[in-house]
């Protein structure tokens, strides 16, 4: 029996590898950015799955979770906090990358990575 956290760990790794594969093989700049986004999502799922504890609930103390035995009832709050940070940073990085793509397209009228040879060795 495969557990839910194991399943999401595998899914996260699969997404991460898919994203990196997309970044390496696609020619279109926007598709490369999409590949980065997919890889980013994969890392988020991996981090969250590492903090999951079976049969426990979200780390919010309310009627469902007594303050007295909260430590026995909730999942790890640290990965959730880290992923929240990572999502925001990923959003910022994606926005900057897309602005670069727009600017590159304005300069050279091309979205193909093959037309940008300046940084190739």
């Amino acid at each position: 029996m495969i557990s839910i956290s194991m399943l999401s760990l595998i899914l996260g790794i699969a997404l991460l590898i898919t994203g990196i594969f997309a970044m390496l093989t696609r020619k279109n700049l926007i598709r490369i950015v999409i590949g980065f986004s997919i890889a980013d999502t994969g890392t988020h799922i991996i981090i969250v799955s590492l903090g999951y504890l079976r049969g426990r609930t979200a780390p919010i103390i309310d009627r469902a979770v007594n303050a007295a035995d909260a430590v026995q009832k909730v999942v790890d709050p640290i990965p959730s906090a880290l992923v929240l940070t990572a999502i925001v940073i990923g959003l910022a990085v994606t926005a900057v990358m897309l602005s670069f793509v727009v600017e590159m397209y304005r300069k050279n009228r091309s979205l193909s990575i093959d037309d940008y040879q300046e940084l190739k060795w």
């Binding site: 590898i17 103390i61 602005s99």
Partner: protein, 225 residues
Amino acid sequence: MIKYLAVIVSVVGLGMIFLPIVTGFHEAEQLSPLAAQYVEGSINDLETQNVVTSVIVTYRGLDTLGEVTVLFLATVGVGLLLKGTQEDRLLMPFSELLETTSSVLVAMIMVLGIYIFSHGHLTPGGGFQGGVVIASGFLLLLLASSGTKINHLVLNLVESVSGAAYVGIGAAGLVLAVGFLSPEILPLGDFGRLLSAGAIPVIYSLIGLKVGSELTSILVTMGGE
């Protein structure tokens, strides 16, 4: 062809790196000591219902300050890259139905965003989520109403005042409480009330305003107003 082969080899190699993580993975039975400390501290020391919020705003507050800075830098970067590159575009006239509905919806979206960031210490949500909801309201306004002009001065003012107030509250913790970004500068109040958890709701509301205005200015810049 050679290139594809190299890509496949490197991707498979990457998969091999991750393989030990999967095979050696076993679900934890208990919270790690640090996490247990955070959960207990959030209940006993900070009077905060949402443990994730207390981790983000207080225990890892410095990280969040850095994160807000990164978001600010991204906004500046987007603005710098896309500055002054206006292109003429064909704008279809919007239907009256769309414009009227969107102006009604925007008010509700704003209220939802404010609710989400002001209740970040009680329910799921917080400054980042609420800020994104507010920015999505502005996005609706930009997309669905012709001739929407968003005042850059107000955006910049909200953004810089909330950022400065965030750092100011953090610094006040050095003098009035135990350290930088300590929420105990305000009375901690009763567990589970809106006005509880000291400065945490104040800080998260400021983050919400800052994130909302930053994302809105990214959207406005990218829309090439």
